[in-house]
Symmetry: C2
Subunit: 328 residues, 2 copies
Amino acid sequence: MNNATLKNISELLGLSISTVSRALKNHPDISEKTKLRVMELATTLDYEPNVNAINLRTNNTRLFGLIVPSILNFFYDTFISSVEEECRKNNYSLMILQSGDDPVIEATSLKLCRQNRITGLFACISSHSNQLEPYIKFKDLKIPVIFFDKVPDVNDCNKVCVADAEAACLAADAIISKKKKKVLALFGNERLLITRKRLAAFKETMSSKAPSIKLLIDFANNAAEADTLTAKYMKQKPDTVFCMSDEILTGTMKAIQKKQLSFPDEISIIAISNGFIPKLYYPEITYVETSGSKLGKLAFSSMMACLGGSTFIQELTTEAVLVEGGSL
Amino acid sequence: MNNATLKNISELLGLSISTVSRALKNHPDISEKTKLRVMELATTLDYEPNVNAINLRTNNTRLFGLIVPSILNFFYDTFISSVEEECRKNNYSLMILQSGDDPVIEATSLKLCRQNRITGLFACISSHSNQLEPYIKFKDLKIPVIFFDKVPDVNDCNKVCVADAEAACLAADAIISKKKKKVLALFGNERLLITRKRLAAFKETMSSKAPSIKLLIDFANNAAEADTLTAKYMKQKPDTVFCMSDEILTGTMKAIQKKQLSFPDEISIIAISNGFIPKLYYPEITYVETSGSKLGKLAFSSMMACLGGSTFIQELTTEAVLVEGGSL
DNA sequence: AACATTTTCGCAAACGTTTGCTGTGGATAT
DNA sequence: ATATCCACAGCAAACGTTTGCGAAAATGTT
């Protein structure tokens, strides 16, 4: 069986294609009687309009592209999930692409987006490429691009970010208020903007509000490195460890469990996280929440603003909030 | 600036549309000289073909739909990630839809798929609806549907599943070989086929190979329930707890940490899992691996077989393998 | 030089919609 | 009775491609 078309229906009913088309969209020009006839046949034929034809004709796909390094990530998947939900509620479709943090794949994904004539793009740039050339084409075409999380370092684009600095400050404040003396602060890849932001804010807060606290700072590229780093620094007996991200946290926690250190008695933990990982442990890890799903909603509304005609370039951030878990 | 079209190029070059079209796809009818001219202009104009037009004309979108309850899931996201990768490599596009385990959303998602004239569908049915009506339409249209993970209970459809029974058997075998005496076995929602399969295989293996082992069996709908259940059963001093899934495992582990039980000394743990969660703890949890990414590749190849013309209905399963972590 | 081939390209239809415009018949108003 | 208007429906073009077929130009053959 083939897909029904307007033509099919029109022939079966002895009507013209345009009449059928209008009837199905409740156009006032069509009488109730024929509307009824058309709709009835359409449902029995299981008619579904061909979006390719519609898009072609109307020159308006309601399709967004979303490019992300990988969906295998606690932060990104909540982001995606929330954007997907918003899209569904607002009758948009979403095309999700993984770049694998590879500029080449990223470029072909962008090409795919263009070929599909997307009406807007959510993009998280791959960390290697600071080259934005592939993205400027969208600007030329007046297709709004909302950068999220990992955003380019230029000003003339729309960005939504988690409040990196604020989150780091909140974490530092929490540590200070608990009168800690010696904290190990573990960060991610030093090249990433997000790392630099969090590092700067953390150090600044610490040194300005509690200069007496002893600070051990280091960087880990993944969980395994965080594990060994934590183990190494334990000899210096910090009373607290701050983890910049989930990845760092999981590594650190493994080291802690390995050494059978009880927390928060023997050592305190605090992290910046989306919330899932911290809740896996007991006591739950105290963390500053950076919500992917909040960011998703923010990104979506920013997109809507752009499509609504706003040419106002903005950089938005979600609020960070401390969630007490008992590990600090 | 607008998107370039074949017409644009043809007018600029004084050629016909068809010539330009053929030149761009290296058709032998076109001379090298004009091919060169066309391609050059096309790249400077940043021409990208309009897939809507192509799909309409060729009546062949290279688009797959993928319906999943939620991407916020360790298993599904590896599945999706792997399918997405295969699609990219094979020049297909993927449309990912979340059903939220809601039959209504599921139905509208299926409608979206039809409107987009997908050439194939990967589907994980929502647990509530045993109603397959929305899916039969695809059969009528000869659009292949590959059900994965949560599959319908009928025979005339293609399914790919993790080896539920085998996984449970492997776990049971591991427990038996370690000479355990009393095991607490925690399962998920009893209504789900996957639960029933794992439960049956586990019980069967246990009773046939080691009838002397004392078995405590219960069901939890989520991590929190697994937590309280584990805590409750601890009074009966099992020496091992088997967790049917990641969700159960995280709940159980929280209870274990809460009671500060050291494992594997005081209690052993074994789970069926995708592998991510077990590696968060130390010692790492021993688990039987059910790989979402393997299942994704399997699903994709099954899809390719269908599209290749195979009318052979098959039910495939991935292999399960025991990964020793030190918790048993 | 005449013809046969091959190379190179254009015409036009088709895919399934949407939509501005035109046309018809009947009802209402004068 | 004629003019006016409205309700209803059809015509046809357009969106950007692909592709079978035919035609012109270039080349080769005798």
